[in-house]
Amino acid sequence: MNVHEYQAKALLREFGVAVPEGRLAGTPGEAEEAARALDVPVVVVKAQVHAGGRGKGGGIKLAKSPSEAKKAASEILGMTLHTPQTPPEGKIVRKVYVEAGSDIARELYLAIVLDRAEESLAIIASTEGGMEIEEVAERTPEKILTVPVDPNLGFRPYQARRVGFGLGLDAEQVGRLEVFLEGLLRLFVERDASLVEINPLVVTGSGEILALDAKLNFDDNALYRHPQIAELHDPDEEDARELEAKRIDLAYVGLDGDIGCMVNGAGLAMATLDMIQVCGGSPANFLDAGGGADKDKVKEAFKIILRDPKVKAILVNIFGGIVRCDLIAEGVVAAAGELGVGVPLVVRLQGTNAAEGRKILAESGLDITPAETLGEAGEKAVAAAAG
């Protein structure tokens, strides 16, 4: 789960990590008020959306007075922001964060990640602040410093010394970085983050260390033990269908094509998308109905698939292990009967109770195209969508 910059900075503050002062505003008037209250020569008005690269898209503006802050906010609020990280349709800005401007001497990069390959936590640091870290890794890997952190030991001061002196900080600044890093790691571990990224991390003219931007990502699987983090979720930042699917415990990802897919299991669901592409078609979605798929779930899954107006055919691909194919078949029949699926339906049932399932489909009187193998299912679905 992602959170907004203003939420991330409030959490950083809670863990003793230095951030510039700032206030949230939902209207130009509130932005003016926020700038006045901050009482600094320069404020930065920043669009609050879940995407990087906001500055290039016009979502970040400097203001030298409260009235300038009001004007900047009126330009940003309500705008549709396009950055390399937003979806093609862009993102509508509903809130801005008004922050005290900083006297920047150096821009650095600092992150804490879960390093899958090393099966460890890791601090990633670089002198190339403000740049995409993937780009730095590609072009100048020698400028990236990685320091592993044992998840059972947590932060150790030497790690801050390795990072700080590695970044060319002086002894006093390294001392400040130690406090900063200790807080970041405590936040990561105590709130089950999956990514903490400070880009840029700045050293000010007076040698202070500040998080100028902050991106926090939390482990969805751990949200049950952090209700205060779960509350930070902003439904406006998510695809409506993905949100609806999550509510009923289905994994759904919208895609560009015209063949709706309902599959059990994530791996088989991905392979079904691959199968459609191999057959020359294009899938409209990824949908994993999960191990507990039954009649009601199948019906709900159909509703979500059919919400997408691009869908010209639906492919149901079930390999029953825990899932029973007869229950799936009942769901398909109920959904097709009650929802009036107006597009061709190709159904492949294999595994547990597949024969019973196929019988239910055949006797339903509904126009359902059965398929025996995965290859056959893909071909028939692509042909059906082509009409």
Binding site: L114, R116, A117, E119, S120, L121, I133, E134, E138, D150, P151, N152, V189, D192, S194, D219, D220, N221, A222, Y224, R225, A251, V253, L255, V263, N264, G265, A266, G267, L268, A269, M270, A271, T272, L273, D274, M275, Q277, V278, P283, F286, D288, G291, F319, G320, G321, I322, Q350, G351, T352, T373, L374, G375, G378
Partner: protein, 289 residues
């Protein structure tokens, strides 16, 4: 011979809830020696004919169990894994989906100093055809034979096994290693076991987007394996930044693409099926060579 489990395996079931009981029953039906269950507070009872114990330690002492299958819900799953290791269990398969990544990271560091091998979590378990079923796989689709199967996915494993069985090609052992970012046994670990196993002549490896375990496995195949390996990578057209069902199936920061994994595997001499319908056929052709 086979890897991980065989007819002599003595299995415990940790978590005797609806799922645990249902699959314990199917495993017994398949001929697996299920020697006990663990359910705190229910020690001394017998559930579905299975003696139940309060702790794994007690269960091991009483039954001499050497393997365990874990159905404990996410908040207690990592604890259940560590309890099994502490009790001297040799092999644990954790079926549970949705364990916090940090819990697994911590548990894995502890397991590095223990003698227990962990399969999963978020996996379908292990089947050695006609000998032992640990987990939730539909074992009836497997048949004994010379091909080892290792996969990050559940249902896609069934698909691959089904394709092999239909071609008349049996399996030595089928292992689902799980779809989470941090797992006990990796592709490389499983490949090493298959390479050393006398009953295995070839391996089918089913990977997916996310992480770099397939790339690491490719290096292992190239440097250490004499047996032929055939692969499929799911998610060839998955959009970056989107989690595709499994917690670990995500292309992030330009890493974890299917195309990179396929390239690495092919460079290592692995025959990679481009269509998921041709996993079995790709193996048949590779064996005929």
């Amino acid at each position: 011979m086979a890897i991980l489990c065989d007819a002599s395996t003595r299995l415990l079931v940790q978590g005797m809830g609806r799922m645990g009981r249902f699959h314990a029953g199917l495993s017994i039906e398949y001929g697996t020696r299920v020697v006990g269950g663990v359910a705190p507070g229910k020690g001394g009872q017998t559930i579905d004919g299975i003696p139940v114990f309060d702790t794994v330690e007690r269960a091991v002492r009483e039954t001499d169990a050497n393997a365990s299958v874990i159905f404990v819900p996410p908040p207690g799953a990592a604890d259940a894994i560590l309890e099994a290791a502490d009790a001297g269990i040799g092999l644990a398969a954790c079926i549970t989906e949705g364990i916090p990544a940090l819990d697994m990271l911590r548990a894995k560091k502890v397991l590095a100093g223990s003698s227990m091998r962990l399969i999963g979590p978020n996996c379908p378990g292990v089947v050695t055809p006609e000998q032992c079923r640990i987990g939730i796989m539909p074992a009836q689709i497997t048949k004994p034979g010379p091909v080892g199967v290792v996969s990050r996915s559940g249902t896609l494993t069934y698909e691959a096994v089904d394709q092999l069985s239909r071609l008349g090609i049996g399996q030595s052992t089928c292992v689902g290693i799980g779809g989470d970012p941090i797992i006990g046994t990796t592709f490389t670990d499983a490949l090493a076991l298959f390479e050393a196993d006398g009953a295995t002549e070839a391996v089918v490896m089913i990977g997916e987007i996310g992480g770099s375990a397939e790339e690491t496995a490719a290096t292992f195949v190239q440097q250490k394996m004499s047996k032929p390996v055939v692969a499929f990578i799911a998610g060839q057209n998955a959009p970056p930044g989107k989690r595709m069902g499994h917690a670990g199936a995500i292309i992030a920061g330009g890493k974890g693409r299917a195309s990179d994994k396929i390239a690495a595997l092919e460079a290592a001499g692995v025959a990679v099926a481009r269509s998921p319908a041709e996993i079995g056929e790709t193996l048949r052709k590779r064996l005929a060579r």
